[in-house]
């Protein structure tokens, strides 16, 4: 716990723009028993700056989620290194909170308030119950779930579940927020609604946090990312790294359309290289 707090303190000292996550020649191979290993991520090198919203964009199967999972410390690298503030990534920690695509990431036996409070009490064990609940209520209000806070997850819609997962992640105040296609399983209308709100929620709930967001949705990437890394498939490599001047502009804004079209072309190319 103490080391986590120290690490968090050191993150604060880094000035914005300095690299927080340093990835060098990272490769990840899956070995299914008896079969030759398949390379999911192939020598990716990238610096992710402190405080930025970094989007990893790619077609399905390009290893973008695998890379994110490795940044979270859930799976080991086959070769290369991922360092956070100079230290190699170890096992998963509350400094790097993952928001999954799976709606089943909430504890079904805890209410919305219970889930968020659980996260806070794990992260800040010394905080009193009432203080933790107050903090939880703030984060729940931030994602617009106030009315659902006494409900169990099974009574929530998919969008509401993802809002709750976001609130829990904000409440824990990690240095790094890892988002693995959190809206990928939502229907189109709800997805757009969440995308439109996410920038506001990140502004209010994740100020100072570095966000890495994985998606295959071009508009999501343009709307959200300070920088966009495009990955190609088979095996997953960095294809392009783009500074995005349109970050924060409304979804489908006319000015951002050329960039979106360009990204779409890049994605199509990566599709072609496979077949």
């Amino acid at each position: 716990m103490a080391t986590a707090a120290n690490r968090a303190a050191r993150f604060e000292q880094l000035s914005p723009g300095e690299p927080l996550v340093t990835i060098r020649d990272a490769s990840i191979a899956y070995s299914t028993r008896g079969r030759a290993a398949t390379l999911a991520v192939d020598s990716v090198s990238i610096d992710i700056r402190k405080g930025e919203k970094f989007v990893i964009l790619g077609p399905s199967g390009c290893g973008k989620s695998t890379l994110l999972t490795a940044i979270g410390g859930f799976i080991p690298l086959t070769s290369g290194s991922i360092k956070i503030d100079g230290e190699p990534v170890g096992s998963p920690s509350m400094d790097r909170i993952m928001v999954f695509q799976d709606f089943g990431q909430l504890l079904p036996w805890r209410t919305v308030l219970g889930n968020v409070t659980w996260g806070i009490r794990r992260r800040f064990p010394k905080m009193s119950r009432s203080e933790a609940q107050a903090r939880a209520r703030e984060c729940i209000a931030l994602v617009g779930l106030d009315r659902q806070s006494p409900q169990y997850p099974n009574t929530l819609s998919g969008g509401q579940k993802q809002r709750c997962a976001l609130a829990r992640a904000f409440a824990v105040a990690p240095a790094l927020l890892l988002m693995d296609e959190p809206f990928g399983a939502l229907d189109a209308i709800n997805r757009e609604r969440m995308q439109a709100e996410l920038n506001r929620m990140l502004m209010e709930g994740a100020r100072g946090m570095t966000v890495i967001f994985v998606t295959h949705d071009v508009n999501e990437a343009v709307h959200l990312g300070d920088r966009i890394m495009v990955m190609s498939r088979g095996p997953g490599r960095v294809r392009a790294l783009i500074d995005n001047p349109h970050v924060g502009s409304p979804l489908f804004h006319a000015d951002a359309m050329p960039l979106a079209a360009e990204l779409r072309e890049l994605l199509k190319d990566t599709e072609n290289t496979v077949s």
């Binding site: 979270g72 859930f74 920690s93 999954f100 036996w109 794990r122 992260r123």
Partner: protein, 271 residues
């Protein structure tokens, strides 16, 4: 038909709720009428009202209340066997989660003993332990253990990998991962297994007591039923059977209440 229902002001929901009690009452009434009307020999098949009177007397309403003793004898053995089975099942499942060989051993053992009605082991148990409580506990454990162990294993095997990752993300230790994520996740299967296990044990112990009674051992509801036949207290025997059914239903509804409080509320029920 509709007009009739409206005329009597009976809403469809009330009819829905009353359907089961009406059927039960109808069956009891049919029993009574057939036995009385056809003048069946009460030594072969007593009337419903006689059986109820004997049951009430056996439970102390204007009688000796001797049935309570038999109930306690049966439940005491059953509860002991239950505790042993649950502890063994948790131990074996714990081994199986961590080790592939242990998992295979458990799966083979479960495969062998699930289809075997454990009452078939009673003669061997009598050979090993004699006419003692240990014999009873042995066969009852053999009937409960395997369904409980196999549903526990399935429960742990089907825990969502996302929740396990969530636990890792929030830096849960191995033990707290088990208590705060794995066990509640496996609870629907656990409750189902405990319910099935209890049902198997309940059938087995009554059957085992019947055999014990026939050979002059003692105790329990099964023994009481068999004794009633020996002494031609047939109505008492029927009262014993009725009691077995009532206790079975009562424990069943206990488990249902437990499900309503937990898995139903969380929406994690499997069936």
């Amino acid at each position: 038909m509709k007009a009739l229902a409206e005329g009597h002001n009976v809403s469809p929901e009330i009819i829905e709720k009353l359907r089961k009690p009406i059927v039960v009452a109808g069956l009891c009434l049919a029993w009574e009428l057939v036995v009385r009307g056809m003048q069946v020999n009460p030594l072969l098949f007593p009337a419903f009202s006689d059986v109820v009177m004997h049951l009430a007397a056996g439970l102390g309403l204007g009688g000796s209340g001797e049935l309570w003793g038999y109930i306690w004898d049966t439940l005491r053995v059953l509860l002991q066997a239950y505790a042993i089975s649950v502890a063994l099942a948790i131990f074996m499942t714990g081994l199986a989660v961590g080790n592939r060989w242990a998992r295979e051993v458990l799966s083979v053992m479960t495969g062998i003993f699930q289809p075997l009605p454990s009452i078939a082991l009673l003669p061997m148990a009598i050979l090993w332990f004699g006419f003692s409580q240990e014999s009873l506990i042995f066969v009852v454990v053999m009937s409960m253990l395997w369904p409980i162990a196999s549903s526990l294993t399935v429960g742990f095997a089907t825990v969502s990998p996302t929740l396990v990752r969530l636990g890792q993300n929030y830096e849960l230790s191995r033990i707290s991962l088990v208590t705060t994520v794995l066990v509640p996740s496996a609870l629907p299967m656990m409750i189902a297994g405990l319910k099935v296990g209890w049902g198997f044990g309940w059938r087995t112990i009554v059957a085992a007591e019947l055999v014990f009674g026939a050979t002059g051992g003692g105790g329990g509801i099964g023994w009481f039923i068999n004794n009633s036949r020996l002494f031609m207290n047939v109505a008492d025997g029927f009262a014993g059977i009725m009691l077995v059914i009532i206790i079975g239903l009562a424990t069943e509804s206990l488990f249902i209440a437990l499900q309503r409080l937990t898995t139903q509320r969380w929406g994690t029920e499997t069936a």
